[in-house]
Amino acid sequence: MDRTTIDLWVGIFVALGVAALLGLAMKVGNLTSSKIGDTYAVTAAFENIGGLKPNAPVKSAGVVVGRVADIKFDSKAYEAVVTIKIDERYNFPKDTFANIYTAGLLGEQYVGLEAGGDDAVLKNGDKITQTQDAVVLEKMISQFLYNKASETKSEDGAGKTAAKEDAKADSGSAKSTELGDPPF
């Protein structure tokens, strides 16, 4: 085999490899937009963070504005202290509300920020005081069952017939379960 032909083929081979790696980085891994520049860190205390993990996105109005940097347990207050890093380009009022949401029904959990009305903005090291815990599915279901049980007990006969009528009305369109209509 001629040496120049070999050089050419190896050149093509290496170029293909570099192109594939670039493709993986840009098209698959999305290296370009996942980077956050300079950030400032704020903390927020939650009673229950559910399945929140470090590096989870912090979103406001659905846009990723930062990442969860660190999660610690405060052994005095028995709370989870979540440190989040927010992109410097975005300022949030002091009375911003931090919630833990779930993407989809079984998706990953993220921190959602809802801006308040305060003029002062959050700075590095500040603490978000207004927080809402993660929704734990088991808790929600047990609460719902408990409510349903007490409802049927108090109304008894009337409640049952009403439920049956509801079921009849629903049976055409949606399946009605024993639990009744879903809460959402």
Binding site: D7, F13, L16, A19, K27, G29, L31, L106
Partner: protein
């Protein structure tokens, strides 16, 4: 009666001991060859065309098998993934499934297995025959170091070719998955890519895949080289060495894959 049991046990134990010593000897000889290769690899960079020639034979000639199998692996992953994901109503996650499994796992591992079968056997057979026909001894007689002239260029060619092949495998696999998921099944085009981009991390997934394939490149090529270099200079010896190359390479790749993955998880 007692005597015969005693001799059976002794024979069994000495057999075990001999096999163990032989394995350890081969492991040591392999490590020695590895270090000699590193020491004498200056020439394969000074005369880089020697290495390029081997990149041609191990890398370029493996392109066809790598690309075709990557394409089919990607397509099958998309089909199988869709089959399960649609039960949970999240068929858009098919892009994530295909990309993550290819980049993190299947790309490096399947490439290494195919590489061991396609290029590793060729290396072993070539060097084993070189040894059987006393070409290596002839080189030594001419004051040419066979490790610097024959072994090292092949080693570096394998180390260069493997990550490139693995990256190609992953990329072509993703394209194959795309072809099945979007035009054939009808998953939304935008969701396929955006979900993939949201969940594949460059540092955690892509770079770790490249690190894996580099390690596999070193291991596969070195095993193939050592088996060839160590083969008894007979037709039977070369054929056994070629078989061992495939078996040992595959087992090492799969074992090393577990070790590397667990190390990468801890970080």
């Amino acid at each position: 009666m007692f005597n015969s049991i005693f001799t059976t046990i002794t024979r069994f134990l000495s057999n075990l001991g001999r096999r163990m010593i032989e394995r350890m000897w081969r492991l040591g000889a392999g490590a020695r060859l590895f270090f000699l290769t590193l020491v004498y690899s200056g020439e394969s960079f000074r005369r880089f065309h020697l290495t390029l020639r081997e990149v041609y034979f191990t890398g370029v000639m493996s392109l066809l098998i790598i690309i075709v199998s990557a394409f089919f692996v990607g397509m099958v992953l998309a089909l199988q993934g869709y089959n399960t994901l649609q039960k949970y109503g999240s068929s858009e996650a098919i892009g994530v499934l295909v990309a993550l499994s290819l980049v993190r796992e299947l790309g490096p591992v399947v490439t290494a297995l195919l590489f061991a079968g396609r290029a590793g056997t060729a290396i072993t057979a070539e060097i084993g025959l070189m040894k059987a026909t006393e070409q290596l001894s002839a080189m030594e007689m001419m004051a040419v170091n066979p490790i610097a002239r024959v072994i090292a260029p092949r080693f570096w060619a394998g180390v260069i070719a493997m990550p490139i092949l693995a990256a190609l495998f992953s990329m072509v696999g993703v394209l194959g998955g795309y072809l099945v998921a979007v035009p054939l099944i009808g998953v939304d085009d935008g969701a396929f890519w955006s979900q993939m981009q949201a969940n594949v991390d460059f540092r955690d997934d892509v770079v770790n895949g490249v690190i894996k394939s580099l390690a596999f490149g070193v291991v596969c090529t070195m095993i193939a080289l050592f088996e060839g270099f160590d083969a008894p200079p007979t037709a039977e010896g070369v054929s056994h060495a070629t078989t061992r190359t495939v078996v040992i390479s595959s087992l090492s790749v799969l074992g090393l894959d577990f070790v590397l993955t667990s190390f990468m998880l801890v970080v």
